[in-house]
Subunit: 336 residues, 2 copies
DNA sequence: ATGAAAGCGCTAACAT
DNA sequence: ATGTTAGCGCTTTCAT
């Protein structure tokens, strides 16, 4: 922990040249003599100088950094990050992940703030599960799990509708009729589509939609607890629950257990996402897999394309989902 | 995607005051009239202004942001991030994760560069698995999985020595005698300690250490492939392998399979870390669990302590490990 | 209470 | 080929 970082001025002084010359050397600008350049490089090496990203990007347009803006770092976003990192490798870009760690989650435009904060720092940004309609920055942006269909923005999403249909149909095919739905956040498009899928599958099976079998779980364990309890304490109790994501599905299992219910004997539970945690819980969760890592890498691909060629139009990528059957679902014990 | 971000100058102009006044309002400085302040806030709201982290932190010392500097975002680091994010929640700090996505992994001082790049941006940094001895920045730093014992720096580590002893002893207790070791990166203290633990446990069991049963796997799948193959093609073949981390243990299983060997019938494999992937591979991996998320949150705790009270001395935290028995280990088929 | 001006570390015209 | 100079958006004395 030194008193002060080495600055370009230190290098210039030590090398006996101007800061402008050092800057030119760093950025491989033409117009520097061979030996001047070599000398400056030597000094840089010797002093262990690294330019400040902050100062550099305040001044110039390019930073060779891309940002991923997330509300929090939880299992789903962590998978995205793994995939994004893989895609960045070999491109020469650095990655900055910016997160307020969920502290502004309920603020209507948290992603706008985060984006504005890092904006000057980066050449473009990926924004995950944004809550507001439009973003307003000067660099390219691609949205993962976007809130609304917007043909003006590049987006990467899973096929939420078909995923939810598959999940619900799986329960129907097992013989379930009273199927509860633990909904996601109503302000998110993915959540709305999953509910649509649930309804659609019910209808296809000739099961009447019952609003009393739906509660908002909000995608997060703590917001789901009460909702799951209400669902499970109804009479007659649903024999199965489709939760809009894994986090709340896992919470549902915990609530069921606390109520003395066995999963899957007394209750089947299906989730959505297939985060690693879903395979590790007890019982292992049947869920709809999203290609999370691929979503991250696709987003990086789109973004770099837009950065390198700004005339690139917005593109929407939709990735298919698939059902992963594990042990949290089975045929209902008794027929209704 | 607007043409330009809203700046403090825009706000000042719209409010009919100077930028200095706007700055004071933003930072709750005294010396601004009530109604001026209210008016400025209204304009800020209306324009959707958010101050630029870049400009702000170039100018002032505090940014209310902490950095986590990682070489890459892979399963181990992803777990750390989850734990760190949880610990940051409620503190008011924002998190910036900086990574070159493994592109400078072999550069001897990659962490020094990354640290220097984000230094001005943050109030302190957590640096994960650094490769060089000492860091040189003007803000507090805590190291996770540090390279060398350094009482001058705050560090968070697992008890690598005892973890490795436990892993090796587990194999010994199952009846294995020819136990191979797929070492980590020799430049990392954690890797050296795990090898020490391996040797120690062998010695305790009265098994002679055989250098031919040790190969460097380098902590990464691609660097481990050849090493694992060499180990498995020796005659006589080891009946068990302790890999220095999960990533290379999983790779070892893949190599064994490609050689027609069954795990655990023909070969037992133990890993280290207990990343989620280790439970999901086939067969599920017996491994030594590090409290990865806790490492992240402990590091945040130490760092915030140092930021809030700079007189805080360096502290070292060592977390205990524990063996997680799954299905990749069993008694050897034939006795030697 | 408010504003003018200097400067954080760097880049980019523009001189020389 | 090199240096001088003017900012990037912000904070912070220091005048007024």
């Amino acid at each position: 922990m030194a008193d002060r970082q080495v600055t370009i001025a230190d290098v210039a002084a030590a090398a006996g040249v101007s800061v402008a010359t050092v800057s030119k050397v760093i950025n491989d600008r033409y117009g520097v003599a061979e030996d001047t350049s070599a000398h400056v490089r030597a000094i840089i090496e010797q002093l262990g100088y690294t330019s400040s990203l902050v100062a550099q990007s305040l001044r110039s347009r390019r930073s060779n950094v891309i940002a991923i803006v997330v509300s929090d770092i939880e299992p789903f976003n962590a998978e995205l990050l793994k995939g994004a990192a893989r895609a960045i490798r070999g491109t020469g870009y650095d990655l900055v992940v910016f997160s307020d760690c969920g502290q502004r989650k309920d603020h209507p435009r948290w992603e706008q703030r985060s984006l504005a904060r890092v904006n000057a720092l980066t050449d473009g940004a990926i924004i995950v599960t944004p809550s507001s309609v439009d973003v307003n920055v000067s660099t390219p942006v691609v949205a993962i799990d976007h809130n609304v269909r917007s043909p003006t923005m590049s987006t990467v999403d899973s096929d939420n509708l078909n995923g939810a249909i598959t999940a619900t149909a799986h329960l129907v095919n097992l013989g379930h009729r009273r199927i509860g739905f633990l909904a996601g956040r109503p302000d998110l498009e993915s959540a709305r589509l999953r509910e649509q899928g649930y309804r659609h599958a019910l209808q296809s099976a000739g099961i009447r939609f019952d609003p009393d079998l739906v509660r908002v779980g909000g995608y997060q364990p703590d917001t789901a607890t009460e909702a799951a309890r209400e669902l499970l304490q109804r009479t007659p109790r649903p024999t199965a629950i489709f939760a809009a994501n894994d986090a709340t599905a896992i919470e549902t299992i915990a609530v069921a257990r606390s109520l003395g219910l066995d999963v899957p004997d007394d209750l089947s539970v299906v989730g959505f996402d297939n985060v690693p945690e879903s395979a590790l819980c007890e019982p292992p969760l049947t869920t709809v897999e999203q290609a999370m890592q691929q979503m991250g890498s696709e987003a990086v691909g789109l973004l770099l394309g837009m950065i390198e060629d700004p005339s690139t139009g917005p593109r929407q990528v939709i990735l298919r989902t698939r059902l992963v059957e594990r042990s949290s679902t089975r045929a209902p014990a008794e027929t209704t």
